[in-house]
């Protein structure tokens, strides 16, 4: 048997994983020492933004699906939870799971239409379809999106306020950590290899028998499922909504895109950095939502031109760091130093 093997981890990534495991454990135990919730409540928003950013990152950074319609899955999640828990009396936490399933099922016909468009037109196409869902929620008497709707005490089950807050926090933490884990796992799987070969050379990948559409579809459905559940948790955290806010492109796509871009799209660590930066900007500009959007928008636009791999990409240029073991390397006798870290390798473009 050959002494060579393909490995993904090294000392650094094992150190990175350990760091994140400790961080996750600390966050998971937070409810037991942050008894008044002063840390937990603001953290929930950061965590669900991380989940949304990772899911957008999975689409745009790895599958080339630049969606500007993520608000549709958030909105679907919100209204599924409202319908099941509020209107049909289903347990709210079971409804969170159902919200993800409904979003995943609805993402299939959406893909059938949107996948006919490429690049920038795919982006606007997903936005149009999100508008369709928003208008349906807005005008439908059953969903009642034109008015403010609130999760009432009854629909939240017999749980106490404290229990609800803790569960919401833990759900948000689970969604954020889970979203990050999904990106890592997808990249490590055969699907991740297929996506990489598509990104490097779609025609070549097709020639090797990689089904480009199938790989993209799988990622699309995963992202819809997770984004839908996140939408439901957003409603648990902030129990009043209407169609305008549940399907808000600014909140559920623009901010999410800015977070991912500033942190670094196409890497697993980037969105985590991005969400931390978002938190800082939010603390500084607490009461100036417009200025928040202007500043984040300008930074993101500047990043997209000057540093397309975000802050993480800039850090990587100076230090070779890789926290998550997602890169495959050949190790064994006679194999040289590890390749430079390039979770995303931009193929040099030979002229036509």
């Amino acid at each position: 048997m050959s002494e060579h093997r393909v490995t993904r981890s090294d000392r650094q990534s094992r150190f990175g994983l350990a760091t994140f495991a400790v961080l996750l454990a600390v966050l998971a135990l937070l409810p037991w020492w942050d008894s008044d919730g002063s840390l937990r409540v603001p953290l929930v928003a950061i965590l669900y933004y991380l989940a949304l950013a990772q899911m957008w990152n999975l689409l745009a950074g790895f599958a080339g699906l630049v969606s500007i319609g993520q608000q549709m899955f958030v909105g679907i999640g919100v209204y599924t939870l409202l319908s099941f828990a509020e209107d049909f009396g289903v347990d709210p936490y079971l409804s969170v799971l159902l919200a993800g399933l409904v979003a995943a099922v609805l993402s299939l016909p959406v893909a059938a239409l949107a996948f006919r468009l490429r690049g920038g037109y795919f982006a606007i196409g997903t936005w149009v379809i999100a508008e369709v869902f928003r208008l349906i929620a807005l005008e439908s008497g059953f969903l009642g999106g034109a008015n403010v709707r609130t999760m009432t005490r009854a629909s939240l089950g017999g749980y106490s306020v404290d229990t609800r807050n803790t569960v919401t926090y833990l759900l948000a933490l689970g969604l954020a950590a889970g979203a990050t884990a999904i990106v890592v796992l997808v990249l490590r799987s055969r699907l991740g290899l297929a996506l990489r070969s598509i990104r490097d050379n779609a025609e070549g990948a097709r020639g090797l028998g990689v089904s480009v559409t199938r790989a993209k579809l799988v990622v699309w459905v995963i992202s819809a499922f997770w984004t839908g559940m996140t939408g439901a948790v957003i409603l648990l955290h902030n129990p009043s909504t209407r169609a305008e806010s549940a399907f808000s492109v600014l909140r559920w796509t623009a901010l999410v895109v800015f977070i991912a871009i500033i942190g670094g799209v196409g890497s697993t660590t980037g969105p985590i950095i991005g969400v931390v930066i978002y938190w800082c900007v939010r603390e500084f500009l607490e009461d100036a939502e417009e200025w928040r959007f202007i500043i984040l928008g300008l930074i993101a636009a500047a990043m997209a031109v000057a540093a397309p791999r975000g802050v993480y990409g800039l850090l990587q240029k100076r230090w070779t760091v890789q926290f998550f073991p997602v890169r495959r390397r050949l190790v064994g006798p006679g194999v040289g130093a590890p390749a430079p870290p390039d979770e995303i390798r931009t193929p040099s473009q030979p002229p036509k």
Binding site: R116, W127, V305
Partner: protein
């Protein structure tokens, strides 16, 4: 008769959609560039017209003489200074830059002009109309808008097919690398194209402002209508843009008939559904080139 009137009014509205779609179509046709800030730029143009009309006490129609050159220069500078750096095989940077720009414009307008709705007042012509039958009357403003759209598209078609600039646009659209071998500065040509795109979308914005009230956050809806008109008509076709705009307008007009039972979203919703139906059955658009 009520339905016929809806169709007629829809055609008039379609003129506005075609005017919005023109700039998007130019940028995509010449350099495969999709500008997600397109709708916000139209609204920006309308707000510039608000400032110009009140500052110089001009009629909004006359304010075009000021607004259009400003937006033309802005488009030229934007392409040269920013957008050109995002042009590559990867569409991600250009999508992100223009999406970010749109959000920035929206919020900057909110900061500057507040969230209040505005209108551009052109006087008594706003309420005047031509009566065709008892049930159908065509307003002068929608008619002028449609005429402006047709004039802009005719001018564009003539420029593309008859002038050396148009020839250079078509050459660059076919193959920028070979166009450079002819001595064509493709980057500069992109800037000219974006200048024209900004100018046409500013005209569209001003006409929108004359026709109806508008606010800082109305941009994305206009982007979506413009995009739908382009896709329905077919990418890379000047007349397709007009046909797409008119069909979308008719869909909005007919959808408006359900306003009472369904709500104010019914017009746009039927428009979106017509777009999705075209996408499902004929993704290259009704008059599209096969390669586009």
């Amino acid at each position: 008769m009520e339905w016929l009137n809806a169709v007629v009014q829809g055609i008039m509205l379609g003129g506005l959609f075609a005017l919005f779609a023109t700039g998007l179509s130019i940028a995509f046709g010449v350099m495969r560039f999709v500008n997600l800030a397109h709708g916000d730029l139209a609204i920006l143009g309308a707000f510039v017209a608000v400032s110009v009309t009140s500052g110089l006490s001009l009629n909004p129609f006359v304010s075009l003489v000021v607004v259009v050159p400003i937006m033309l220069a802005a488009g030229y500078a934007m392409q040269l200074g920013v957008f050109n750096f995002t042009i590559s095989a990867d569409p991600l940077p250009s999508i992100l830059v223009t999406f970010g720009l749109g959000v920035v414009i929206q919020n900057a307008l909110l900061e500057t002009y507040s969230a209040d709705s505005r209108g551009l007042d052109v006087g008594s012509i706003e309420v005047e109309s031509i009566t065709l039958t008892d049930a159908i009357a065509i307003g002068w403003i929608p008619l002028i808008t449609l005429a402006a759209a047709v004039a802009v598209l005719l001018g564009l078609q003539a420029m593309l097919s008859r002038t050396s600039l148009g020839r250079a646009f078509r050459a660059v659209s076919d193959d920028p690398a070979t166009a450079r071998l002819m001595g064509i500065n493709d980057r500069n040509l992109y800037a000219v194209a974006m200048g024209i795109a900004f100018a046409t979308v500013a005209i569209a914005g001003v006409f929108l402002g004359i026709r109806q009230s508008f606010g800082p956050t109305d941009g994305p809806a206009q982007l979506l209508y413009a995009f739908e008109a382009v896709v329905i008509g077919g990418l890379g076709s000047v007349w397709g843009t007009l046909v797409g705009g008119l069909l979308l307008g008719i869909a909005h007009g007919l959808g408006g008939q359900f306003e009472v039972s369904f709500g104010y979203g019914s017009g746009p919703l039927l428009g979106h559904l017509v777009f999705l139906a075209v996408l499902a059955t004929k993704p290259t658009g009704l008059l599209g080139r096969r390669d586009a």
